[in-house]
Amino acid sequence: MAAAPCHGYRPQGGAPLRAPLPRMRTAARQRAEASSPHGFFAPPALVSRAVGDVRGVPLPHWRRCPAARGARRGDVGAAALAAPPAGAAAPAGLRAGPRAGRALAARGAGAGPRLQLPLLKSTIADVGQYYLVRNLSVHELVAHEFIDAFVKKGSCYALTYNTKIDQDNTAALLPNGKLILSVDKDTYEELGLQGRPSQYSGKKVMRYIVTVDLTDSGFHPDSKKHNRVLWALKEKKPLEFDFLLAWYNPGAEGSTLMSYFSKNQIQALKPKITFSTLRDLECPVLQSNELQGKPDESCSTEELFEWLGAVLNQVSLNNKSSSFLSTYCCPQPNTMVEKAFLCTITGFIIPEKIIQLLEQLCCYFGEPKLAYWLTLTVHGFADSPVSWRESEHGFHKGGENLYNFVIFRNLDYWLQMAVGTNDDCPP
């Protein structure tokens, strides 16, 4: 695997990522033999799944597919890369990077490349917007006005900004109404709210997870639970963070986050979208029903995953003897593509927008194109307290948690999910 460092994962250009993409191991189709996530030296686990035909089925089908079901909070960045066909023209595709979202779009050479780029640009025009609030106290997220206005209607996502999961206190609000606080030992002892020790702590526990269910029936105003939580967060140990907030509401009525938090310094931000073109790229040949790859006909899922990581990190795929960084080659069989198109979306993107993006990409295959496949990669925040659903996420050395869609021309798709060491298996 290439040793080149990844691009920055943090939104709005922060510090670069700490480690390159992980080596993965293919698990069985039903993630049967995924490695133990609790072991200190366990390699990250990769689950590859080939799902059948999704042709012609609208939104509800996508909701059933694992990525949508996972409903990862604050999923950021979708990356789609279209693979070139065996022929001359290279298809277009989008690839979004990790949270910060990098979209990589491979553009075909054959049919008028200039026509395709604006088409793609228009399809990923709207990825929603998110808000950054500075110095917001956590007790305001527990206030009943906030719960009634945002948590109970639609889905509200919140994550603390610029906090490290293994060092500082972190808070997150999941769309199912649970507020997760990942606190260190001293804060937990002073806060006074019951929690459990983190799964990834050794003999001496230094990290605790406190979960507060805001939609619980016992959490109405003037209940003991609510009073205790409010007292702990307001008077005993006030916690204040910078929050990234997003709210998805199909009804679109009522106050918005902007007006609710007008007293705090709130900024509305749009995810950053960049496009780039890669020329003369070697792409592996894939067959949708061959997960393991036939020796001379197609590549396996792991090889594709590694190749994707190499391309995203701009690692050269020719095994030059003078290169000290990598000896990585494109897996065989492969084709040379004249142009590939990469689109990167960086920001705090919610799963509903990613589903819309996926549908738009499927529509791309509606007209006959020369592309054989395209890829969409979504990275979760390395510092988020949860990875999939509510399973705890630790940083260890990389904090990766990502999933990758490979969509074929006949609308078959592969779904690959990868996690780091301190993580539970993806669902």
Partner: protein, 182 residues
């Protein structure tokens, strides 16, 4: 001696002193009248230290708190703002804490955090505290940090190092040993 000749016996008797058997009067030691003490089991049965539920009212113990404040002020000679903290600390270590209003600030078990009340009884390992809601709470000292406030001075008591009976604490010298991390 019985088998010797008469002259020999005479000889010995004139020169040496012969010790006859001697019975000394045994002094009957006067048995110390031990004060009739109770065993711990009997003491518990007698319930000397239990407070009846009717008497478990916070308002009743407020005068006790006032008395305690007065006692501490006398102990520290006034509690002026310019007094050095370690002097007060030294005195508080040996002071009696019955009647102080105390709050649990830090605890390994989060449900103890926030308990505030007047200390009614101090045992070796626990405090019995009565809260404003007239509830008698038994709070262990181990792994708890209590905060004590008197006239603007806030002191923190690390319960893990404080596991002594009140009477014994006045005689003990506290040394810095180990960590105060919970």
């Amino acid at each position: 001696m019985p088998k010797m000749k008469d002259e020999a016996i005479q000889d010995i008797l004139t020169r040496k002193a012969v010790v006859l058997e001697h019975y000394s009067k045994k002094k009957t030691k006067q048995k110390k009248k031990k004060t009739k003490g109770f065993t711990a089991k009997q003491r518990r049965e007698m319930r000397l230290f239990e407070i009846e539920p009717e008497q478990q009212r916070y308002a009743i113990f407020l005068p006790l708190h006032e008395l305690w404040k007065q006692y501490i002020r006398d102990l520290c000679h006034g509690l002026k703002p310019d007094v050095q903290p370690h002097v007060i600390q030294g005195k508080l270590l040996k002071a009696d804490l019955h009647g102080a209003i105390v709050t649990v600030t830090k605890s390994k078990c989060p449900s103890y955090v926030g308990i505030t009340g007047i200390i009614l009884q101090e045992f070796k390992h626990v405090f019995k505290i009565i809260t404003k809601e007239d509830k008698l709470k038994v709070v262990p000292k181990l792994n708890n940090v209590f905060s004590l406030e008197i006239d603007g001075f806030i002191s923190y008591i690390y319960g893990s190092k404080f596991q002594l009976r009140a009477s014994e604490r006045s005689a003990k010298k506290f040394k810095l040993k180990g960590t105060i991390d919970l």
